[in-house]
Amino acid sequence: MHPFILERPRDLSAALALRAQAGRDDAPIEYIAGGTDMMQLLQEDVRKPERLVSLAGLLDNGIDIGPQGLRLGAAATMAEVAAHPAVAGQFPVISEALLASASPQVRNQATMGGNVLQRTRCPYFRDVGYAACNKRSLGSGCAAIGGENRWNAVLGASDHCIAAHPSDLAVALVALGASVKVRGAAGERAVALEDFHRLPADTPHIETVLEPGEVIAAITVPAHPAARRSHYLKLRDRASFEFALVSPAVALDMDGPQIREARVALGGVGAKPWRVPKVEAALAGAGLDDRAALRKAAPCRRPAARCARRRSRAAGRMILPRPWIASASRSRLRWT
């Protein structure tokens, strides 16, 4: 591990001021909150900041539910949010996504803000033994293209980077139309989570719309009738303690056996948490057991084929709506 100076600022504005001196991403001054991802990056020499600015005790960790929806303080831990009865009851997809993530030990420590900001699991990004990684060093190339890329993105990748976004939580939040409250020296602003992560294009080293120094202060999820009927399915190589091959987050607003509105996002397959508006539109009005309609509601065929080829046949099927919607009577997901 590269030596660094640990800063423990007295309050958040002091922390913001410290971090704002440095650049945008991978800067010589970096934040640490829960630290579960940062510690791995430091240990593997992927990150070598000169100073780490601790956010411990400086950010809100509240979990509040009201008529407007849900507000998660950035410092609330994955374990706290997953176990919150109102989250599990009214926003089950969030609780399910969290419980399918990492391990109890990590969930006790990892925060909401850090989860959304965690770095890709692309093995070439994580292993500095490979020189070519445009995310680590822009212009160095991409070892994953043509390399071992079974887990890399099939949606939103570029010729410069094919890293997949690893968060489960963010997929659930994007499906529910969540927003991120961002705090900087200049004040607070709100960004739709769907617009928060940037696609790699030719600048894969810039991963979010955060300006230098800005932190995530909170995440808000609007109240919506579909939120209560929402689930997270996660296909992975082993049953637990593993990242997703494909993970659909689905929220349905039902009118009897008919889908009034569907919200769907896919995890594990996109360069960022991937909302699929075409699937949502095709599902609106379909019945849960209407096989023909569900077959039609499959505009993700090409990524599904790519996923089936690269990962497994099951992974290819999991991108399509049928496994998580059809045959509600046989499904372990309760939609009605």
Binding site: I32, G35, Q43, P104, Q105, S240
Partner: protein, 105 residues
């Protein structure tokens, strides 16, 4: 840390200042082993011992969190503690035993 299970490898010691830390050395009451430590001996929950400290600390938390309803639930909530000797069946049995005796005690 503060009664919750965390990974020591993902924590900076400097940031643990002021927090209460319990390690495997702090579980026994004098000469009397913690019920889960006794359970690991009774059930042969280890061979080489490399993972045992973590298994027991995690297992105690698993019991305190109330995730011992079934062997499957224990396996899910212990899934990040790996044992290369493959003592999983015996570890699950030790946790089940300790959960019962801790409830009774």
């Amino acid at each position: 840390m503060d009664g919750k299970r965390v990974k020591s490898c993902l924590n900076l010691a400097a940031l643990a200042e002021g927090h209460e830390i319990t390690t495997i050395e702090g579980l026994a009451q004098g000469e009397e082993l913690h019920p889960l430590q006794a359970g690991f001996i009774e059930r042969d929950g280890f061979q080489c011992g490399y993972c045992t400290s973590g298994q027991i600390m995690s297992g105690v938390a698993c019991i305190n969190e109330g995730h011992t309803g079934s062997p499957a639930e224990i396996r899910e909530w212990m899934s990040s503690n790996l044992c290369r000797c493959g003592c999983y069946d015996n570890i699950v049995a030790a946790i089940q035993d300790a959960a019962v005796s801790m409830k009774g005690g």
